[in-house]
Amino acid sequence: MEAQLLIKIVLIVAFVAFAVFLMLPTRSVRHVALRRIVLVIVLALAVLAVVFPNVLTTVAHLVGIGRGTDLLLYGLIVVFLGNALVMQRRSTYIEKQVTVLARRIALLEAPQAAGDVADGIASADIAPSETAPDADDRPGGAE
């Protein structure tokens, strides 16, 4: 009982750290660096576990788990969740970039703001000759 407390603490601390990480604002450079460091550590531990399988069991006993495989499973869960969070953050970032890009396109293709108060499709686009007319046609035609 006493011994299992240790692994419980370790796991809970890891998950709480993830939750905090989720709410922090992104500081890209440091995050990328951290991610790479964690990746290297995980890889190194994986190699160690393959070469010295008994160490795994010893460490498991240390934190109060019966078998090395169980420790491996816990580790896998932690790494998996961490990875999922990193990916979700990454996709949020990409979505922001896509938004900027799409907005730029939308504004470029929009009818010119000055002067011609919208009286429909045709007249608005005659003045700025090169870009506007076909820019205005394209999305309509694609539908």
């Binding site: 989720l22 709410m23 922090l24 604002p25 992104t26 979700q88 953050r89 949020t92 979505e95 922001k96 896509v98 938004t99 799409a102 907005r103 396109i105 939308a106 504004l107 293709e109 929009a110 009818p111 703001a113 000055a114 108060v117 919208a118 009286d119 429909g120 499709i121 608005a124 999305p139 309509g140 539908e143």
Partner: protein, 214 residues
Amino acid sequence: MPLYNEASVIGSVVAAARETFPNVVCVDDGSSDGSAEAARRAGARVVRHPINLGQGAALQTGIDYALGDPNCHYLVTFDADGQHRVEDALAMVKRLDTESYDVVLGSRFLDGRTEMSALRRIVLRAAVRFERYSTGVALTDAHNGLRAFTRSAAERIRITQNRMAHASEIVGEIGKKGLRYTEQPVQVLYTDYSKSKGQSLWNSINILSELFLK
């Protein structure tokens, strides 16, 4: 006016709005049903997102577009499904003109005109309390799409929440930028059409998670 798949009503909404406001901008958020064409025929200037991004993104695009016109002094956000009244919008702009506010926000709770279900009322009340607590801006209605901004207020507000959480974000921006705000009683018409398309209350959970998860 953020616009997404409202082809059946957008024409009449734009036409009604244009009787009072000559410059109507519709941001078509990648509709697949000819909404953009209908809006254009009704006389709106249509800006089209090449892909669907969400209502918040559409609002920001519309604001950017409107600010490109140096003659734009006031700016109103208005729902495309016909649940807002043009008279309310006009009254809000008049207040910006005569009183010293930067933002006038529509509220369904300042008078008894708007009818809604008890559950919706409870959820919206909770949202208001949450916003008051997290942004320091004391409002009576958290998610009303009818808002009027002065040009300088619109320039200072930046919407980064693409989907539904933008309403809370706008309130947060008002607090952060220290804009002078007030509320205006408005009536929201929950027609069968707007009900069928309207926000599910499940969205409140999505909004909360979008606000907190970076």
